[in-house]
Symmetry: D2
Amino acid sequence: MTLSKKITAKIRDSFAKQAMMATFGAQVGEIAAGQVTLSAPITDACSQQHGFAHAAFTFGLGDSAAGYSALSIMPLEAEVLTSEMKIHLLAPAQGTHLQAIGRVIKPGRRLVIVQAEVFAIDKDSRTQVALMTGTMVPILPK
Amino acid sequence: MTLSKKITAKIRDSFAKQAMMATFGAQVGEIAAGQVTLSAPITDACSQQHGFAHAAFTFGLGDSAAGYSALSIMPLEAEVLTSEMKIHLLAPAQGTHLQAIGRVIKPGRRLVIVQAEVFAIDKDSRTQVALMTGTMVPILPK
Amino acid sequence: MTLSKKITAKIRDSFAKQAMMATFGAQVGEIAAGQVTLSAPITDACSQQHGFAHAAFTFGLGDSAAGYSALSIMPLEAEVLTSEMKIHLLAPAQGTHLQAIGRVIKPGRRLVIVQAEVFAIDKDSRTQVALMTGTMVPILPK
Amino acid sequence: MTLSKKITAKIRDSFAKQAMMATFGAQVGEIAAGQVTLSAPITDACSQQHGFAHAAFTFGLGDSAAGYSALSIMPLEAEVLTSEMKIHLLAPAQGTHLQAIGRVIKPGRRLVIVQAEVFAIDKDSRTQVALMTGTMVPILPK
């Protein structure tokens, strides 16, 4: 489904205001209704003790992708907050980039259930490194 | 319980090698058997769109505190990996610092169940901003 | 905090209508504002292949205790639904009874974050067998 | 992938010993390597206060399907325990039957990451009522 230009612009504006995403070097990829992709280079600054992407980095990229997937199906004036999120770390996050695909599992007026899959991209490979499920809360102006 | 100097040194060494923790400006606080405290200033570089600490930052500090609490009760040659972690975000992470207290809930040879509580510290207040529970996996040399 | 008789009666009425609780042989224990205790005998009908209480039984008792702890702090006309729940199974549920203590972690108009601890009671012992955290949604008449 | 008759028989034997599954009236459906389906009628005995399937019933069927999916890829002498499981309840479990499909997400010698989807089946409809992800632990004889 195609999104209105206003919703797409709102997601890009919100993303640009998240300093943490700039620190991660993250970028917005494809934005569709209920699905948003983010990616970021795996750099030294965001690694753990073995040189792989740190779980905080993997979590942050997946959580943001999931949050924007929820935002993509909400009214233009809404914002969104993560209430809870579970992450399974499936493999070492080794490669040149991380890619996170957030998806709405179940929309709702009061809660939006979301999922994110995070992949480590290397020259010739793409490995799923995390599976996340969580709850997003729409915030509407009073 | 007092920890051996070797275990304490091992935790400090491992922490020093996590570049993500340096990017967060994080520091190790108290280290006891089964409980480790970390703290970090809330800076612009790790904030979300409203200027509060980003969920990735809160998650990362809590996950590391929990992981080191598990490491504190393992044999000296062991390392530890997060297998899964759930975070409930309870309040906006607003203030000067984050403090994360990781604790072992149930030790085990193959799995260690852990908890972390994360607090936002301001001049006159200390507010719990996250509750986390998760599974750590000991890695032993073969 | 003491609860009004109306809230206490409402919790007992709701519990009595849950046939699954009768199948478990469960009973309501102490009801306080934000904390509710349930218990049930460990019988053959609700066991797994080794004769311990089945995870579905442990989960159900903990989930209900947590749900009623949320209901205890809501307006009289409200009902409550579980949106999500995570359970860590910490030890085999062996003994004569299960006891579940549900507690509100963070109240809210739209979401209530809850915790439950489940214990296996035997003649001379009380062992924690599960730790649960979850999200309850208040349902108000329109 | 086809499973050996021995593995299939082992899963049916283990299922037959779970009294809780008999109380639910549950039956084993398709057994494949890494995927097992269970189903059960929605009866009064396993309902909540509105007559829908109780969350304990939904959880129990999904957890067992997920556990048997893990068992299906383990050595013949192994058993399996749930360490942790998260359930998102997506819709009221209304209809004639529940169907749970358990699937291995990531196999492992020490941990198996699993998923389960639970559906409510009615005359003309099939609605997903739960999404679960969890951690199974293989138990091998010493």
